[in-house]
């Protein structure tokens, strides 16, 4: 019954996530709520369904090394490519220098 209760809780959180995207609030607030809710689901699965809560701490450390590296890579890539200077050139901007060269 313990695992069933956890699964029901996860299903309720999924329902809350669905409702959240239709709420008329500020975007940053909705994104934060979604990230928190999915993190809670993630933690429940790894600590209860995957038994990390009962296993030796080394298993948690090992998995979190991969998780932190993955999270860090995602954060770095999104920061790098989210910058204004990283915006891809539009087709018109790419073609413009070529047109100038032809005129010269």
């Amino acid at each position: 019954m313990f695992f069933v209760q956890i699964a029901m809780l996860l299903a309720v959180i999924t329902g809350l996530e669905l409702v959240t995207v239709y709420l008329p609030f500020m975007k940053w607030l909705l994104v934060t709520v979604l990230v928190v809710l999915s993190t809670v689901k993630f933690m429940f699965v790894i600590f209860y369904f995957m038994h990390l809560r009962w296993d030796k701490a080394f298993c948690t450390i090992l998995f979190f090394i991969g998780l932190v590296l993955a999270g860090g890579t995602m954060w770095a890539l999104l920061k790098l490519f989210g910058a204004d200077a990283s915006k891809p050139l539009s087709a018109a901007m790419i073609e413009q220098p070529a047109a100038v060269t032809r005129l010269a």
Binding site: E17, V21, L30, K41, V45, I46, L62, I65, L69, S90
Partner: protein, 205 residues
């Protein structure tokens, strides 16, 4: 004693290894940690191209079906529950209960795969989104396709274990084999938890 550690054998600690952790479990956790980085890169790639969609990229909101994806998410969560029950059953030596739980997990896994095939078919034929005609298609199909492949491997592994259980060689002492498989299956579920939020739900805000 915890619910998961209620059997007569201590399935969480192995005094014969230097770490005190069963080697198969340690191997699986190391593999899952590396797979985290693999999926992290695929999800980042998708999000980066969503930050600055190139001209002509179709609107993801007009392509996605949140109802179908929510159903798939629920099915995968329930399959995780059945997998947890299967591990719990074999740790208590209840082979019959483990078989039923494994069978249900396979069934839910197949439903998830069926939903994904339906979704891909719908995107290609109805919404005209293919892996080659836009960046959205390329990153989306690569990410969700890789996840789907993981689910397929999991279903094959589960089916193999179910068949193996009928040979009589799977007992409470070999519970670690089912537990390692369970770790893989739950990992597929947690990856989908992230994909559901990052790829699907964020498009609706």
């Amino acid at each position: 004693m915890s619910t998961a550690a209620a059997g007569t054998i201590d399935h969480h600690h192995d005094p014969t290894t230097s770490t005190g952790i069963p080697n198969k479990k340690l191997l699986m956790w190391a593999f899952l940690a590396s797979d985290c980085m693999f999926f992290g890169c695929l999800i980042s790639t998708h999000l980066i191209y969503r930050l600055h969609p190139p001209p002509g990229t179709p609107s993801a909101k007009s392509v996605f079906s949140i109802e179908l994806t929510s159903f798939s998410t629920f099915i995968l969560l329930m399959s995780s529950l059945m997998m947890a029950l299967a591990v719990n059953a074999i740790q208590k030596g209840n082979l019959k209960s483990m078989r039923w739980s494994l069978l249900t997990t396979i069934f839910f896994g197949c439903i998830f795969l069926g939903c994904q095939v339906f979704e891909f078919n719908n995107f290609v034929n109805e919404k005209h989104l293919t892996i080659t005609n836009s960046i959205l298609g390329t990153t989306f199909f690569t990410l969700t396709g890789t996840h789907g492949l993981h689910v397929l491997i999991g279903v094959i592994w589960l089916s193999g274990m179910l068949i193996y259980s009928f040979t009589g060689r799977l007992t409470e002492k070999q519970a670690i084999d089912v537990e390692s498989m369970g770790l893989y299956w739950h990992f597929v579920d947690i990856v989908w938890i992230v994909i559901f939020t990052a790829v699907y739900l964020l498009e609706y805000i």
